[in-house]
C-alpha cells in the first residue's frame, strides 16, 4: 500500500502547548481516523499539514514525493475545516467562484451534483447556513477538484446523527476509487467505528497509538468483576473505567493472563470508545495499559 502522507518527527511549540515528535503514516485508500480529546492537538497537526502553521522541526512528505511543487500538492488535497473559514457575506456561488478558479481540475458537474444531493441553494448567503449545511458545502468544494487526499478537521462535531451517517457514507464511497484516501479528526468514536480502517490516537500533543482499527479493538477486552477479583489481578495492566462497592469495569490488554488468574472473570469485547477513554482518561496508574 502506498503512503499518501508521511509525517516524521514533526514538532511545534507554543507557549502553552507542545506538539511533540509526531510521526504517522497515511496509507492509500484508507480512511484514517484521528482521534483525540478537545485540545489534544488535532487541529494544530492538521494546520501544520496544510501549511497554515509552520512546524519547528520534522518532515512532511506528500504522496511519496510524487509531485514536485506545493501548488500541485494543494491541487490534490481537499479540505474540510471545523470553522468552515468562508467569507460569510458571500453567497455559495461567489465563494465557489473564487475557489474554483484556483484549482486546475475543478469539476463543475461534480460540484453541482453535490449541491443537489445536499439540497444547497447557490444563491444562499454563507452566513445563513447551519453548521451541518456549512460542512456539506465545504465537502462539496473539497470533492469537486479531483483531490486524492481528503483532510477534515472535526467534520462531524455538533451535527446530528443523520448528517453524520450521510457524511460517513460519502467517505466510504469516496475511498472506493483507487488512490483516494481520507484523514479525519474527531472526538466521536462511533464515527470511526463505522468507517475507519486505521486509527491514530493523539493525547496531550503526542501520538499514543496508531494501528488497524480491528486490531486495536481486538487487542483489548473489557473486564468486569468483583472488588476481590480486582485485588487479585491488580498487578496486571488494567485501566479502571468504573468502580463501585459492588464491582468494577476496566479495560485491559492483558486479558489472557487475567483469564488464567481468574477463569470465571467476565471478559467482553471492548468498544473503541472504551479503549479511547482508557487510553486518554485521567491517569490513575500510568504504568498500566
Amino acid at each position: 500500500m502506498n503512503t499518501v502522507l508521511d509525517i516524521r518527527n514533526v514538532s511545534k511549540h507554543f507557549s502553552d502547548f507542545t506538539l511533540a515528535n509526531i510521526s504517522l503514516e497515511l496509507k492509500e485508500n484508507c480512511i484514517t481516523g484521528f482521534l483525540g480529546k478537545n485540545g489534544a492537538g488535532k487541529t494544530t497537526l492538521i494546520k501544520i499539514i496544510l501549511g497554515l502553521l509552520h512546524k519547528d522541526s520534522g518532515e512532511i512528505i506528500f504522496f511519496s514525493n510524487r509531485y514536485k511543487n506545493i501548488e500541485t500538492i494543494k491541487n490534490k488535497i481537499g479540505v474540510v475545516l471545523d470553522d468552515g473559514y468562508f467569507y460569510d457575506n458571500l453567497n455559495l456561488k461567489q465563494m465557489k467562484n473564487i475557489i474554483a478558479s484556483t484549482y486546475k481540475e475543478w469539476d463543475e458537474t461534480t460540484y453541482k451534483n453535490y449541491l443537489k444531493k445536499f439540497r444547497l441553494n447557490e444563491s444562499q448567503l454563507i452566513s445563513s447556513l447551519s453548521k451541518g449545511m456549512k460542512m456539506k458545502y465545504a465537502l462539496a468544494l473539497a470533492l469537486s477538484h479531483g483531490a486524492d487526499l481528503l483532510i477534515m478537521d472535526e467534520p462531524t462535531s455538533g451535527l446530528d446523527p443523520e448528517i453524520r451517517k450521510e457524511l460517513i457514507d460519502i467517505l466510504s464511497e469516496y475511498v472506493q476509487e483507487e488512490g483516494k484516501s481520507v484523514f479525519f479528526s474527531t472526538h466521536i468514536t462511533s464515527d470511526l467505528e463505522r468507517c475507519a480502517d486505521e486509527i491514530v490516537i493523539i493525547n496531550n500533543g503526542k501520538i499514543i497509538e496508531q494501528s488497524n482499527k480491528d486490531d486495536m479493538i481486538e487487542s483489548y477486552r473489557m473486564v468486569k468483576g468483583t472488588l476481590d477479583d480486582l485485588e487479585r489481578i491488580s498487578s496486571k495492566s488494567i485501566k479502571i473505567l468504573d468502580q463501585t462497592k459492588y464491582g468494577f469495569t476496566g479495560i485491559t490488554s492483558d486479558y489472557e493472563e487475567i483469564k488464567q488468574c481468574i477463569p470465571k472473570i467476565i471478559l467482553e469485547k471492548a468498544s473503541l470508545e472504551d479503549i479511547f477513554l482508557a487510553k486518554t482518561g485521567e491517569i490513575e496508574n500510568e504504568d498500566y495499559i
Binding site: 494543494k74 473559514y85 460569510d88 461567489q94 484549482y103
Partner: protein
C-alpha cells in the same frame, strides 16, 4: 486572471453595505466643501487629492476589517492560489476605488452648478502616484501586522494627519511649482513616468506581501 477578478469582486461584496454611503459621500462632499470654502473653486487639486486618498484608505480599511471578521482568508491559504495574486488583487481594489473617485470628481468639476474646482491631468497623476506609493507600503504592512495592529498604525496616521496634510500641501505647492517650471515635460511623459513608477511599486509591494504571507500562521 479569473482568480484576481473573483478576489476583487469578493472585496467589494464584503463592503457592499457601505458602498452607497461612500458613493454619496464622494458625490456630495466636494460640492459642500467647495460651497463653504471658495478657495477650492478655482483649483480643486488639493481637495481632489485629499478626497482620493481618504476614499481609497477608507475602502481598504473597511475591507481589511471584514477580512479579519470573516475567516475566508484562511480557506484561500489552503487552495493552490498564489499569495501574489491575493496581494495584486488588493492593489487593484485600491486602484478601482481611486478611479471611481477620480471619475466622479471630474464629472462634478465639469458641471458648472456644482462650483467644484477642476483638477488637471498632472494633479490626477500625482495623486495616483502618492496613493499607489502609500499602499505600496501599507498593503504588505497589513499582511504583516494584521488588522488589529494596523489599526494602531492607522490611528497614528490619522493623529499625525494635520501635520502630514500641511506637509503634503507644501509638497503640492512645491510640486506645482516644479511642474510649472518644467512645463516642457509633456503630459504623456508624466503619465508614462508615473505609470511605470506605480508598476514598480506594485510589483515590489506584491512580492513583499507574498513573502510576508508565506511566513504567516493562521
Amino acid at each position: 486572471m479569473k482568480t484576481i477578478y473573483n478576489l476583487v469582486k469578493k472585496d467589494y461584496i464584503l463592503i457592499k453595505k457601505s458602498l452607497l454611503i461612500m458613493l454619496l459621500f464622494v458625490t456630495f462632499a466636494p460640492i459642500f466643501i467647495s460651497m463653504r470654502a471658495p478657495e477650492f473653486q478655482n483649483n480643486g487639486t488639493l481637495l481632489y487629492g485629499m478626497l482620493a486618498l481618504m476614499i481609497t484608505f477608507m475602502t481598504y480599511h473597511m475591507i481589511s476589517m471584514e477580512e479579519m471578521k470573516q475567516k475566508g482568508f484562511v480557506y484561500l491559504q489552503i487552495t493552490p492560489m498564489s499569495n501574489k495574486k491575493i496581494a495584486i488583487s488588493k492593489y487593484i481594489v485600491v486602484t478601482l476605488a481611486y478611479l471611481a473617485t477620480t471619475i466622479i470628481y471630474c464629472i462634478l468639476a465639469l458641471l458648472p452648478f456644482t462650483k467644484v474646482g477642476g483638477v488637471g491631468i498632472k494633479g490626477i497623476m500625482l495623486s495616483f502616484a502618492i496613493i499607489e506609493l502609500f499602499f505600496g507600503i501599507y498593503i504588505p504592512l497589513t499582511f504583516k501586522l494584521g488588522y488589529v495592529k494596523l489599526q494602531m498604525v492607522s490611528s497614528g496616521i490619522i493623529f499625525l494627519s494635520p501635520f502630514i496634510i500641511s506637509l503634503i500641501s507644501k509638497y503640492f505647492a512645491s510640486v506645482i511649482n516644479i511642474t510649472s517650471s518644467i512645463q516642457s515635460l509633456s503630459d504623456l511623459t508624466i503619465i508614462v513616468g508615473i505609470v511605470v513608477l506605480t508598476m514598480i511599486v506594485i510589483s515590489i509591494g506584491s512580492k513583499a506581501s507574498s513573502n510576508i504571507l508565506k511566513k504567516q500562521e493562521y
